[in-house]
């Protein structure tokens, strides 16, 4: 969806425009939030954060600004910032360190361009390997090991029995590990 389309939809009906925006970007926002919070939050916390992201998007979108192009950049930015806030809130509950602590001086900066680039390449490679498994194995692997879903939940997504999901999952893991080893990766 482009900014122009969103503005035109908002002129017609605010709620319907928001619905369209939500339908189009819900998965995208969920993925960004999930990828940030999966290590420290429950699924409910993640859903709550997704709700917050959209509430922020709805309230902060300015129809009087003449933006153009895809809305995804704007949506992604809010999703990243909101999930970063939630992440910090959760982490700060666990670890607190006085700012004048000596150890705090050695904390690395949040952004490291070189590291970011390497991480991005790694993610790309891993996703390529998972994609190469083909469906439904790639879906099973992602649902099981990334989205932490049970075999029963996955069985509903891929329309297989839970037992079949477990069998396919075991075989897919072996194939994926083999491919990863050939590429010098350890999963």
């Amino acid at each position: 969806m482009t900014h122009e389309e969103l503005r035109s939809e908002l002129e017609k009906s605010e709620s319907q425009a928001q619905r369209k925006l939500f339908d189009q970007y819900c998965s995208y926002v969920y993925t960004i939030v999930y990828s940030r919070l999966r290590s420290c939050c429950t699924r409910e916390d993640i859903e709550e954060c997704v709700s917050d992201v959209f509430a922020d998007i709805f309230s902060s979108y300015r129809t009087d600004r003449d933006f153009s192009g895809e809305v995804s950049g704007f949506v992604g930015t809010i999703a990243r910032r909101k999930s970063a806030d939630v992440y910090k809130k959760h982490i700060s509950d666990r670890i607190t360190m006085p700012i004048d602590d000596e150890a705090a001086q050695h904390i690395a900066a949040e952004t490291d361009i070189e590291e970011d680039h390497a991480a991005k390449e790694l993610r790309k490679e891993i996703l390529n390997m998972i994609d190469a498994l083909g469906e439904p194995d790639s879906v099973i692997i992602m649902q099981k090991y990334y989205f932490d879903r049970s075999s029963k939940e996955i069985s509903e997504i891929v329309s297989l029995s839970p037992a079949a999901v477990r069998v396919r999952c075991g075989r897919a893991v072996k194939r994926l590990r083999k491919t990863a080893e050939q590429s010098g990766l350890k999963l």
Partner: protein, 501 residues
Amino acid sequence: MKKTDLDLRALDNADDETAERISEKYTHISESDMERIFKNSRKKYLNGTEEISDKTETGENVVIPQVKHHRKSFLRSISAAAAVLAAGGAAVYGSIYILNHGAADFIPAVRPEQVSESCKVTLGDMYKFYDDEIRICTSAFVPYIIKVPDEERQRLFDVMNSVEWEEADSEYVPDGEYSTVFVCNNGNPYSLKVYPEVLVYSGETEAVYRTDSSISECIYSISENTDRNRDLVWYLYDSITNEGIWESRITVPDSELKMFEKPEIPEDLRDKEIQKAGGIYCYDVIPYEMSNITEQADRIVLGYVEDHYYTVEHNQNGSSTPMTHLTVKTVDGETTDLVLYGEGYISYRDDMWDIIGKTGDKYGDAKSDKEIDKLYYFYGYYDGSDSTRESEELPVPGQLYAFMVSEYMGMDTICSDLCGILCKSGDDFVQKICDEYRHYSLFELQQMVNNNNNKNSSDVSAAASPADFLQVDLPYFEPEESGETVEYTVDEDGVRVFPLN
């Protein structure tokens, strides 16, 4: 993490490209989860901005201005009034009026938790047009009420949230026609009478607002566009109230719906020997499909069963027919007798009259008169199953039913026995066929009956014939022309006499 688990932590904190790839192929959010998240977002968006600060904890400026409140002037005044009430405990209505005139251009929303216990249910809370349930009553459809579909509801809410409303005196309320929007806001029912340019709120208090005609136009368009078979719900006149509208929608799962129950054996038959008899009809020809039942029925009777009794009809040819009569109090307050024809209790003597007569009052294994008088048959009610299984049950007293009725032998007869008796459950009327439940709206049933009556209007009396009642298409044979010739003689009286072979 177990040793056998795959370590996909590398995918955490995904960049745009990765997030896009994952979301396209692998992110799965169920429809119900999506709906919940969306509603939650909308709620947060509409509820307020206090939690949204200008700065995130990362210290970066985020372009998140104050949320625009989409409440109109009267809503803001009501909210503000609630806040004042929380502090001072003053009277609600007076404060609304006072504050309406002194309200600032922007007054933040009052959240329920900020309001004192004594006025927790504020008018401001009640007026949020977001996910409230609504039903619309227009004079064109009464006593049917429009169950507004989600998309139409949203359309109406958008209009209601966007027009300007102004508080007014009751003298502005015109005498003309109006529609009523019944609203259920988190269990708090209220209604809005919508005149072309005036709106009357009726809940715990009453208030009048002036507006433009867009709301009434929207309601008119909703009533025009409505799928009548699906969205028109029939109501008893008495239940068309703020509370009654929502009470009747409470329903039970079909499996828990008690449509019929077995009545006690009549007192005068308790010392008799009662045997189950086979169906009086061939069950292959009794219809249970609603389309066929409505073809038979000439009207629908809505009412409550008050009582029942059994009779036997003695026919001219000496045979007898058992009948079960249901005493029904209709929703119009009349009492009527509806008949389940051919079913009920009948004495052995009545049932076997012709055979007993021919055998000198004895039958088969030579029963004595005493034995014959003691023996009764019970013909069960057709319930959509085959002839091996008949029901002994009748409608439950006190419950509301729709009876599909046709006139037969001068009586109001229920078509297809229990299959023609539909029980009201929630918004629907439910037909039970064996263990299967089928839901219909009364409007839909009425349409089916009307359409069939119109179709057969030229031959209404024919619908009362037994063949029509049983829905039998009697076979018609065109006799072939014979090539044979027969010789005959004519006697003295001029009568033709044919030779017998």
